[in-house]
Symmetry: D2
Subunit: 337 residues, 4 copies
């Protein structure tokens, strides 16, 4: 693609969690925001977006009998690749915890399900297995022995990373939801755990929205992980800073989204720009396109940033100067489309 | 019942939303936190609590064919009464809005569903019909003409209250969820709308948790509604102030829960003390008992409050003095049980 | 001024609170973020900005002896006009409350100070007297009789508005700070109070940041006030949604700031676009210029909005469509500068 | 002291930051919530409380000429000991940063001021030097090179801890205020930095309120620090979870305060229970007594906890059971006083 100036723009690869194209349910619309969607149907929708290169697949596939080969074929037919597998360790069976379930059998089942998912990931040639232990944590004061939950969490990840040394495991942290308080709740806490695990194939998936509503500056969190070689993947979306709204990228926090991608590219991080949106009431294909449209605009804007001036402003910690440079770059690009 | 001093304690009536005993689903545990529960099964569980007098029933009943008479019989067999009917204007059909749906046919369907629910409420001898238009609002900046949504909301409530002058309609406000931003979002905004509607049979259901995480002081919100004769009902629960966690009453904010009930009783409000808890991972009968246990302790504590001293402290706006009086009453009650 | 297309742009009038150019103090840098600044010095700085037409003046002036005539002369020399006077009913004397102080003498002193300020406003030809009772409210559970505080607040405003029928009084609401909970805490609560006061010369000053971190959609709050003829003035700034950070306009929430100004212009509201920023660590003249630069860009962007398309999208409550239209307008204008 | 059962209660040592007894200022009551208070006057007030054993002293002392010997004598006369010195690296000179100031001379001045404070701490026989770099961080997106701020922060602490190997340095983390975003923002991030520094005499001061409004579970944060031998000190207070309100201990979050102290004692942590309250509008001596009264009640309640039952409940992650045990202990204690 070429912009107005005729210069070819080399966009990054775009990706999406396959659940973006699935069926949303919540505690009120218990009949779902739409009809059920199988894995193959979701892959087809992902293909329809037209600009996605990769998807992150939840595991087990739906319906249960669906094989890795069938999924691989479906991906191929849509010109997609599986970047990751996300084992569903947060459904009913794991609702009182996966790696931290009080029942040792369920803890074992969680490790086994992830192992199965890892086998699938290996066969699909994924970049990483995503670990999102959303049910691991606690709801009430006094409910848990926090130290024990922490140890169990690290032990499970260590066991998995040791069992699959050829694969990479990316922990996606989140402050809360579905559990009121989650074990891997912030970038720093996750990195602390990873250092304690002490294996090279464990890293972090930074979800922009989780970081934002967790009170972090996502750009800061990204740099911290990159500086330790642990930023394995990112997800992007947006929210109102109080909850994981999983809105379309850039719909609320354009400037911080821009800052986040600036931090990534500035640090030489060249992974996939990946969507984790939940368009409950929108068409999921159109919502993905909307997110990509914004990411492309941001990518073009990054090329407009006067980096020397920005560095000078940051060296002086000059807020007004830095903002001016960023806005100048950001607010000139949408017209080129 | 008698306390240590041998004095009979006359507790208020306790109630619960029937969904307390239903099946919880969220966007992650899409297979539900437990198996499906029918209306009759939920009523039976409500009965098992042993201390509930009334329930608030969602409508339509589940399964669809279930009649008002069957429900009435089930309630009677459990020594329960229906205090309210809550029409489900927040399921898939209404996911883009009930009274504010962009499609006039859906808006009509919402009014019709509430009307059906109101008929059922009338036959069940309920105190009020609850209106909880949880899907009415917007998600994104620029998405909506806020003025139009406001008018549609008031028009629908006015139409319903006019059509059923013998019934009372209680609007339950909530800042957000499932919609990112809801039309009836706060006590003051709801009262403003009610004044504009101008009918005597429209009031407010104050949910303690909604008020708390909406940044209100629930005691203040309650007094405001009472002063205008609009506090039709209350729901109680608890949360971490960032989301509607619907935790067990008093589990986090004991003091403000105590203040809330003090405000109610002090103002002579004598309605039902009603639970709206979502014990996702707990036994629902036990969770209801836990909430009632706390409410009973609070009720006993209210009798311990040195009201004259508290009034003097409040007249002087003496924070330390008022807190001391409240804590003295609150922190002595559990042993009496 | 003319833009690239050679079309004259008629910007709105810009204004600022005079405190923008004053000296900031907080509880840590108790020696101030800079040296003291007198009223006349602050006016001079406001003049240096070069694009301000009006200022909102705190009263009493500093130093105490400074006369209205001297202030008027200083304003004139800087080509500025006083749009409002803000009586300082939140300093030490009023730290336990102004209109709601437990001491009747202090309550009286608050009304008297506002009256003095109103006289000054009259002589200066202001548009309104701003009421910001920042110390009116409570800090602790159980501390206050909320109903009494509410009545006292309304009584005081009613008394003032009755005493000065030729002036307008604009209540600036805020959820909290300096008081942990404030009486006039939201748009709806303030409108509810204003309706109860029942006088035509009482309205609201909507501070964008207060609305935002109070959980409102500022565009929605603006429309509600306008629909009742009560939006007397606005202040703009930005924050991280958890506190009144008073950052430079548009630095965090560009899209919602744009939506806010769109709502104002769409409703035909043509008041002053006024800054309430606290650039603690920045040059205050430069910070004001930065805010105005963003507001001018937003103003130009408003002209780019495809209003017919936006109306259609809003009628359909089409989030993706509406966002696309808004972004298209917003993200093309900064380059024209 | 003996309780109702005649058993002697051995309370922990209580302490307070000396600023508790100072003069509060904020950006509105710029004339202060009361008259100025010197260090010696504050020490006298601390002594009046009657139950404090130690204080944490800000440095430089006020007025500037006051010597360590004079302070030591004043402490002795009040039967107090200095547990810590807190160098004031957050006043005007450091308002754009202390360890992270863009100006290397100011960074140097910060290290020098802390060094001076450390000398004073050594002479006073303190347990630790508190590092609270409240101005270190950033306000705006794009303002800072986060990696550089992180390195500068660690370098400064490492330099200090190396220069004073006989002293301990406790970093007090805080999410924000006065800076919009602070470098040492959470327990995990601070521990991550401390591990990187790699010296034994650097640890954490956990402020309960900072942890709470930062979204942590303070009990969890405490255990994490203890497990790594880094919990050097604690401060307690309370807030509404959105800001560092520094309210009286237990005034809002009784249960989580109780859980926090339970976690400390359960882990064998036996440090000072220390107040960091800002009673802007209350008598500071009375406010300290109120906080201690609550802490003593909590201490007595801890003795009532059925630890075996609680352990069993926590092993089962039984929220209802654990809450019941905790409430039973907590809600029976005030009467014993």
């Amino acid at each position: 693609m070429a912009n107005q100036s005729g210069i070819d723009i080399q966009y990054p690869k775009f990706g999406a969690g396959i659940w973006h194209f699935g069926r949303y349910v919540d505690r009120y619309a218990t009949d779902g925001y739409g009809p059920p969607v199988t894995t193959l149907q979701a892959i087809e929708r992902a293909g329809q977006v037209g600009e996605l290169s990769v998807v992150d697949l939840t595991y087990p596939f739906d319906p249960p009998g669906l094989t890795v080969d069938e999924v691989a074929a479906a991906l191929k037919s849509q010109d997609l690749r599986a970047i990751a597998v996300t084992p569903e360790i947060y459904t009913r069976r794991f609702s009182r915890g996966a790696f931290t379930n009080p029942d040792p059998q369920v803890r074992r089942a969680a490790v086994e399900l992830v192992s199965e998912g890892a086998e699938a990931a290996r066969r699909l040639g994924c970049d990483y297995v995503k670990l999102w232990p959303g049910q691991d944590g606690w709801d009430y004061p006094f409910q848990a022995d926090h130290g024990e939950l922490w140890r169990w969490s690290l032990d499970a990840v260590r066991e998995l990373a040791t069992a699959f040394p050829d694969l990479r495991f990316a922990i996606e942290y989140k402050p809360r939801e579905p559990r009121n308080r989650m074990v891997f709740s912030s970038m720093a806490k996750t990195l602390l755990g990873i250092e304690e695990i002490g294996l090279p194939n464990v890293g972090v998936l930074l979800d922009f929205g989780h970081s934002l509503y967790g009170g972090e500056s996502p750009a800061d969190a990204a740099r911290l992980a990159i500086s330790r070689g642990r930023l394995f993947a990112i997800d992007v979306n947006d929210n109102y800073r109080g909850w994981d709204d999983d809105m379309v990228v850039g719909s609320v926090h354009l400037t911080e989204t821009f800052e986040f991608f600036h931090a990534l590219t500035d640090a030489g991080w060249d992974g996939v720009w990946q969507l984790d949106q939940f368009p409950f009431r929108e068409d999921s294909v159109e919502a993905a396109r909307a997110g990509i449209r914004v990411m492309k605009a941001i990518h073009r804007a990054l090329a407009q940033v006067d980096r020397q001036a920005l560095e000078a402003a940051q060296r002086a910690q000059d807020a007004l100067g830095a903002q001016r440079i960023a806005q100048k770059a950001l607010l000139t690009v949408m017209g080129e489309e």
